[in-house]
């Protein structure tokens, strides 16, 4: 038994040193190369939730395929835009969650992400007499221009036949988006322009007519879109190169947090947490004396291990998540309170310190197990609740609380017992009053 306790003692010490190395890296070596990952509410940024209109999808594709395609296109748009560490996730079966930390111009980012950016090429519909057909409002009716692709199929000409190398160019002081066709597109555009010599070609973006240049010659390689502002041109280039979205997206929820507000909350909550933990330590030492001191040491080890795990997994820290961690430190000593109260009872019954320590841990275990298990049940439900409708703050809280509960079981029981047993076995602190034996 004594041998096993010794090994445990060494194990706990090794674990503590390892955890401290991760939390406070001396040099950014193997263990210290990661920083704490902060959530949007702490570092500032935008959180966007979209719903995809799957009724408009290509019927030959499954919902999941469409969503995956939309996700990868948004990823490519956001990456080109230059946001660091964006998160793009599919939520449920038709939602996309986009988190953009530290984004400067949110409105521009929203335009970039949410727009389908479907580029279409259309021609005027002619009536039986060969004149341009008009709708009820007297406007020209446009119909998609179709042509035969390399495989011999007749298809409508859209942005999907572009090479992903569109760019903004300036022509006569005005911005325009220049693009090039791929092999299929070149063949089709050649057929269409040949057919439309001296007639207008309509260029539509998301159903809106952008330009209607008159075709002067057969063109097969490239084209431009003008009548556009510089900002919009930049966005359009990005969108054309990432590809148009397969289905339209509807914005459901948007939350922006200012970075300074987040930093301020983080600082305040950390200070508050430290003060709270200090109060707990003070109370435990004053009320439970030697065991209380041991529990405080165990609490320190607990904090080091939890923080190290936050860094290593890594767990994204949100403000409620940090609150969850701080609360879990308060709960971590719960188990110690139960054990120490039990020890006092056993001492009162006349047991030796050694026996009382053993009995205290043994008898307090069932209620510690049951109460912590019920908290874990709640954590699982909270995690599901937060995940189902994309409340990242709720999820963060559930995650840190659950982790806290699990590790607190280790610190409050294994660590405290190992340390206390070491002290008792080595004949230290043999006065019963130090354990609160003669009080109460």
């Amino acid at each position: 038994m004594r041998r096993r306790e010794n090994y445990l003692f060494l194990f706990v010490l090794a674990l503590l040193i390892l955890a401290l190395c991760v939390v406070f890296p001396i040099n950014k070596g193997v263990l210290g190369n990661k920083d704490f990952q902060l959530g949007l509410d702490l570092k500032g940024g935008s959180y966007l939730l979209y719903e995809a209109d799957l009724s408009k999808k290509d019927p030959s594709l499954t919902d999941a395929q469409v969503m995956a395609a939309v996700q990868s296109k948004i990823e490519s748009r956001v990456n080109t835009y230059g946001v660091t560490e964006p998160i793009i996730q599919i939520q449920g079966n038709n939602r996309i969650l986009v988190q953009l930390p530290g984004v400067k111009d949110v409105n521009e980012a929203i335009k970039l992400i949410g727009q389908v950016a479907l580029l279409e090429f259309k021609e005027q519909k002619l009536d039986a007499s060969g004149a341009v057909a008009k709708d009820a409002d007297g406007k020209d009716i446009w119909i998609p221009s179709t042509a035969t692709d390399l495989a011999g199929n007749t298809e409508a000409l859209t942005g999907k036949y572009l090479k992903p190398n569109a760019y903004v160019s300036i022509n006569n002081g005005k911005p325009e988006v220049a693009f090039e066709w791929n092999a299929d597109g070149a063949k089709m555009f050649g057929q269409i322009t040949a057919r439309l010599i001296n007639k207008p070609l309509g260029i539509f973006l998301d159903g809106v007519l952008k330009n209607q240049p008159t075709v002067l010659a057969v063109i097969t390689d490239k084209g431009v879109i003008n009548n556009i502002t510089v900002d919009d041109a930049k966005i359009l280039v990005n969108q054309l190169n990432s590809g148009s979205l397969d289905v339209p997206l509807k914005p459901l929820q948007q939350t922006d947090v200012d970075a300074t507000l987040g930093a301020d909350s983080l600082r305040k909550s950390l200070i508050a947490g430290l003060i709270g933990i200090a109060c707990v330590a003070f109370f435990m030492i004053v009320y439970y004396r030697v065991p209380g001191l041991v529990a405080t040491v165990a609490l320190g080890i607990y904090a080091a291990i939890v923080l190290a795990i936050f860094k290593l997994i890594p767990i994204t820290l949100t403000l409620p998540g940090i609150a969850g961690f701080v609360i879990s430190t308060g709960m971590a000593v719960d188990a110690n309170v139960l054990i120490f109260e039990r020890m006092k009872e056993e001492l009162k019954r006349g047991l030796t310190i050694k026996m009382a320590v053993q009995e205290g841990f043994h008898r307090a275990w069932p209620s510690i197990r049951d109460s912590n298990f019920s908290t874990l049940i709640t954590c699982v439900i909270l995690y599901w609740f937060g995940g189902t409708f994309g409340a990242f703050m709720v999820k963060g809280f559930a995650m840190t609380l659950a982790l806290g509960v699990l590790i607190s079981l280790f610190s409050a029981i294994t660590v405290t017992r190992t340390f206390l047993t070491q002290m008792v076995n080595n004949g230290m602190m043999t006065n019963v009053t130090l354990y609160g034996g003669k009080h109460d």
Partner: protein
Amino acid sequence: MINIIGKRYWFFLLSALIIVPGIISMIVSGLKPANDFQSGTAMTLTFNPTVEENALRQSVTAAGYQDATIQHAGSGEYFISLREITTDERVKLQSDLETSLKTKMTVNNFSTTSATVAAQTVRYAIIAVIVAAVGIMLYISFAFRKMPRPTRWGFCAVIALLHDVLVVLGIFSILVWAAGVKIDALFITGMLTVAGYSVHDTIVVFDRIRENMTKGTIKNFEDVANFSINETFVRSLNTSLTVTFVLFALFLLGGSTIHYFILVLLIGVITGTYSSIFNASALLVVWENNEWRRFISWIPGVSKGKKTETKAA
């Protein structure tokens, strides 16, 4: 030894005195849902140079948002809520306000929610509370499976849990019209945490009752319960005290976004301790003695408090 179980109806009455006004307040005014639960837009704005509340109100109305609510949040910060707006509308509102107020506007916080999401959140929140309660009830019934009628223990623990949830809901529904507090997803998180934590203390007492029953030195269940509560009284207080320390520090000094979230937890921990000492085991005794029948015959002559407790069970 304090005779807690003997005065159980006084403690039930005390619980009722807190819960009943809360329920009335909830029925009368309801809980004001924040942006997570209601479609619309919420923004926190600061202006440089600062603007007057009235001027801001006029400008917002002039920009076409007659229904907007504007609250002064101190130090030149304003909280504005209006209908769900698009990005273009947001850009226009900002430029309109900046022009008419001749100032520079910063959006510190912006959130907009559509009606679909709002409705779903509420539904999921309710499901989450129910699932948590059922899960905990099943677990406790399992943990006390060696006792006669184990489901009773699970049931009483869950009633104590619902008691705590009701106390928090009630106090918050009063805070809604007293202090303009809004209910958001974090509030639900807080409620669920309260639900999970409430059982913590209850289990400690139940566990002791179980131990003392197995010992068999005291024959009467009522006495066993009272003895066990007295034995665990100090630890029930101390375990809550440690959590209360950290919560109190976070409440006073922590970030403003989690202020009410922490308040939910703080109230929850306090009422959780109360219900586990004074209500949970008392309910077990009431059930063991079949005291239900007695007040069924009293209705409608009973005081309101006892009636509520009967219904709750």
